[in-house]
């Protein structure tokens, strides 16, 4: 069993440490709470639209990076792995913003009235 474990760690290939099971469960609890708050926020009357949108995007981003950092072990992993994921992620966000700009879909940008 010890040699199996040694082999498993040796062939892991570039990973640093990993989170413990307790950390995984704590992260899952935080994810569940954030999801519950996200859904509940839809049913709170009187929240301005812009506040709702920004808070939903912020909560979504926190969930995203919790899963990537802890469950996908990226915060413990080699910088090359981080670069391989974060680089294209930035391009993906740029694509979303560019396509929205092309189709005038930005509600935050005022349109020029001639």
């Amino acid at each position: 069993m010890a040699e199996h474990h040694a082999a498993a760690v040796a062939t892991h290939g570039g990973g640093g440490g990993h989170a413990t099971v307790k950390t995984y469960i704590n992260v899952a609890i935080v994810l569940a709470i954030i999801t519950a708050v996200e859904v509940a926020s839809l049913y709170v009357p009187g929240v301005p639209g812009s506040v709702l949108v920004i808070s939903l995007l912020a909560m979504s981003a926190v969930k995203f990076f919790l899963v990537v950092g802890f469950f996908m072990h990226l915060r413990y992993d080699h910088p090359i792995m981080r670069a391989l994921f974060v680089g294209p992620l930035i391009i993906a966000i740029a694509i979303i913003l560019a396509v929205m700009a092309l189709f005038s879909a930005f509600v935050l940008l005022p349109r020029v009235v001639l």
Binding site: A2, A28, V67
Partner: protein
């Protein structure tokens, strides 16, 4: 024996010049490219948002409680996936196989919920791929995500089969870790879709 294991690891053909496992590097590169794929689909959905000239509209068809339940299923499956990985790391193969099976079943439940949702949209609301800009961008985006989940379920069930046949142990940690990376990726894509498509008014 431990020295033998370490020596075997040194000559592992999967380890490249960087000292990293090529399979894992390949998976991260694939996930990076998949990010851009889903980025373009999400961008298109947002660009078309509110521009459909005929109904039904998103707020008329979306079932937020059902979709929230589906989101919870995928989040729970991410936890069971890392528990499987942690068990395999300690060479508790049966426990790992059980968690992998639970993960696959949670994923299957998600897919069935999506099938129910799509069926309801088509049969009860008349929303199809060609009904409107909303219909085409919604079905393409969520359909591709559902296809990813389906592929992940098949992959997980293959790992469970390997474990049941005694062909999976702690030495295969990287195989399961790579499957886990893919599985968590479909979870983070759903985190984005759930907020951007379903929750933002």
């Amino acid at each position: 024996m431990a020295d033998h294991a370490a020596a075997h690891a040194v000559h592992d053909p999967n380890i490249g010049n960087t000292g990293l496992d090529n399979r894992k590097v390949g998976m991260w590169a694939f996930l990076g490219s998949d990010c851009m794929f889903f980025g373009s689909l999400i961008g298109t959905y947002l660009a078309y948002k509110g521009k459909s000239i005929s109904g039904p509209l998103p707020h008329e068809v979306f079932d937020i409680p059902l979709t929230s339940y589906s989101a919870a299923l995928l989040l729970a499956s991410s936890l069971t996936m890392v528990l499987a990985l942690a068990a395999l790391q300690e060479n508790r193969v049966k426990t790992a196989a059980r968690w992998l099976f639970v993960t696959a079943m949670l994923g299957l439940h998600f897919v069935l919920n999506q099938v129910y949702e799509f069926t309801t949209f088509v049969l009860h609301h008349g929303l199809t791929l060609s009904t409107s800009l909303f219909g085409s961008s919604f079905f393409v985006l969520t359909g591709f995500h559902g296809a990813h989940v389906t592929g992940g379920v098949i992959w997980l069930l293959m790992l469970v089969t390997l474990a049941m046949r005694g062909k999976l142990d702690a030495r295969d940690y990287t195989k399961v870790e790579i499957a886990g990376l893919y599985w968590h990726f479909v979870d983070i894509v759903w985190i984005a879709i759930f907020t951007v498509i379903y929750l933002i008014p």
